[in-house]
Symmetry: C2
Subunit: 507 residues, 2 copies
Amino acid sequence: MTQIDDRCAAPAAPSAPPGEGVGEAFDARRFRESAGAVAARLAGPLTDLSVRGLALTDPAELTAAARALMTAERDRIAPHDPARLDAIMDLYVRTGIPVHSPGAMGRQFSGVVPLAGVMDFAGAMVSQPASFYEAGQLPSVAERIMGEELGRLIGWDPAAAAMVTTSGGSLANLTALLAARARAFPALWTRGGTDGVRPAVAVGADAHYSVTRAAGVMGIGETQIVRLPLDAARRIDVRRAGPALAAARRRGLSVFCLVASAGTTSVGAFDPLDELAGLCREHGLWLHVDGAHGASLLVSGELRGRLRGVEHADSLTWDAHKLMFVPAPCTMLFYRDGARSLGAFRQRASYVFDEEPDEYAALDSGGRNFECTKRPMIMPLWTLWAMHGPALFAQKIEHVCRLARDAHGLLLAEPDFEAVHAPQANILCFRHRPRGLAAPDVHRFQNAVRNRVRGGGSFFISKVDIDGTAALRAVLMSHHTTLDHVRMLLAEIRDAGRALLAEGADR
Amino acid sequence: MTQIDDRCAAPAAPSAPPGEGVGEAFDARRFRESAGAVAARLAGPLTDLSVRGLALTDPAELTAAARALMTAERDRIAPHDPARLDAIMDLYVRTGIPVHSPGAMGRQFSGVVPLAGVMDFAGAMVSQPASFYEAGQLPSVAERIMGEELGRLIGWDPAAAAMVTTSGGSLANLTALLAARARAFPALWTRGGTDGVRPAVAVGADAHYSVTRAAGVMGIGETQIVRLPLDAARRIDVRRAGPALAAARRRGLSVFCLVASAGTTSVGAFDPLDELAGLCREHGLWLHVDGAHGASLLVSGELRGRLRGVEHADSLTWDAHKLMFVPAPCTMLFYRDGARSLGAFRQRASYVFDEEPDEYAALDSGGRNFECTKRPMIMPLWTLWAMHGPALFAQKIEHVCRLARDAHGLLLAEPDFEAVHAPQANILCFRHRPRGLAAPDVHRFQNAVRNRVRGGGSFFISKVDIDGTAALRAVLMSHHTTLDHVRMLLAEIRDAGRALLAEGADR
């Protein structure tokens, strides 16, 4: 370890503006040129509808390429170099997921609506933190407006409900659990510990890992997670959930919150919220709905029934960066009873919180979200909503959900494919089981197929374990993707499978 | 509450691409036009060096203005309207903090380096989550490179240390506390609770509220926070810290982590890291340094001595969105022993974590940061570093720190101003005490002056409580700000004070 010597006391010249190099880095004309060059580079993929998968690069090779693009200048400010910027952008776009391609089916994000990206750009430049009204006036107001607009779709009274944006679904789930904990154990924030009580959380067996991770963060151990059994459609089985909660109580656990999923990450299953709300009432539990993926279906008249009963929830996580096609993160956490949102965090700091709240402080969200510095993340979503209305989202969502259903129908007719569920959203999970594949090899075979397709195919897909056996997973996100692309994907998977079986036979 | 009816089963047409409106929203030419228009609007403030404060708008008025900009169309996709976009941008910029003005001294952020904003724009469009190599190849590599570059400035062995980006300093502090907890209480993640042990955290009395908030999140109550006394310079007083830790032990607390500040938020004080490291060794504590504000001083040869001893820390939070002038969030969490970074979260999820890690998985950060979806936040910072080298940051930081010191010298000569500290960074806190102001009124007077200046002056400043009495707080962030602007600020404060005293006399 090197030592840092204390040179603070060295005499320095009186304050004079720093050298030319700094000024040049803030030059307005250069900024517009760079923005134009980057926008031109970003526009390319919008018109390129070729079916492409991921171009995975060896990390060592990519590191060398990135290092080669860095100036060696240390003591002076190296001047701007448009060629260097071009090369960086080229490397960035080339190694990025081709999110606008009909072949991108790997994850729950896609090419954002371009206007959302443009507004995100504005947010990066205009103002920074949006946790306090004075620092982000329009974002604070837009957050309140979107809370009302979307809260109405949930079925909540805008006067009572509240919404707060936060940096990602994981943080929203953590925040909701904290609000639930504050209701059940109001003294915990001050006194800590729980003096013999063992707080516990009930989750569906397919809940997102962020939920159990949030519990772990809070000091709720894995042994205090009550995993509720699933039915054949991989939804929480309400009939078996009651007995599971009773058994937890007998084990000495104090369950205070039940987390349901509105669109599981694995297969996009929707837990029966209506029935679960009844169960929560009966047991005095906070019902949190993790709708990071599926809450966006509320925007569609055709699909909103998937979330029947969500109006009875205490809180709801909703990621707009998934099925509302805006840059990540844009996560909204809704509370049916807005006053509960103040329970999650209890604090004061004089440099951010006002002693005598005024009309401005009423719009501060810093007391209700985890972050102090928070991106004005609502602006891209609000701008799309303001410009185009809800139909933009509804049409895209309806397309990808219909496509998943039709693709499922397609699979059912193929003897060498096995559907593992009937899709409820835009996620389709299935297995390839060609003739000649022995049953014990099915698991490893899916992983191998997926890596082979990812390694050089025309599609980017992912994988998921279902009941301990791997399955292939296509998340349909693009309005450019059609059933023909799904047919191409199946053909590519068959090719990969054939090659793998042939290699296996050689060994 | 409205009921959601289940219309899922309604027959729907087979998958066909959605209507024209969706396609138009993704039109490449329109994207470039919108990006150009927004860039032009954003370029304006770069050349406007007028001295301006905040234009605070009544929230109800701003809400009405925002509502007026929203389409009423619900069922169809309203077409793009460049005039609407212009109006939104106009409202956004007008109500935002004038971050490039020499008058913006309110908070720890400023106008970002424009190229960083441009690269942030690219990150919004190119790829989304950067927690996994396959989803963000260049960001993953750039993160590793910046970890090495900056890790060397800390004084750490790049082969042993690790860096992970995360969404804000609050989350980084939480993550560090979790890693520290995992070292001290390895069974907690699985078993929960602590069976009679009362885990506790020691913090300086001026630690950022996110540190105690993180402890609260973890179930460590306020009574388990050991507040270490400060010396006259508002740094942790090492001689009194040892006895405070011993007293905590006698109270039955198991302190496992000491959080020091490298640049407190209130006054920018640097705790004596070298001595605190010795104390931590003695007591077996994890030393976490919250350098959200001040770690950036490591980039300057002139200023890095402020962090003498940081090389002995176990972990360090470093916000690049403060003194490295990139869009928020860009927070880096450094670990001296990289292996410890795996302790913070312990989980597996088959759709993101690979069963058989390959050369790609080695660069995944999802197991070491809280988020599943994480913005490729390193790209703006890496691009600046690659393009201009470290001198760009060093020159700006040295300017604002010298300016704070010179401004302090100026204050000392003014009988109606009181300096509350000698600035160690770019934060200057002081009080205005004109003749005729009674001692009991000093606290409320500072708040009143601040609100008056904020309400319509040429400067945006903040306030902070120091030993229970409010003070004015100027955070010098712009390379355009000079000592002449500080003189203007003092004159404006005097005017506000005079007016307030006169009003008081009238009542």
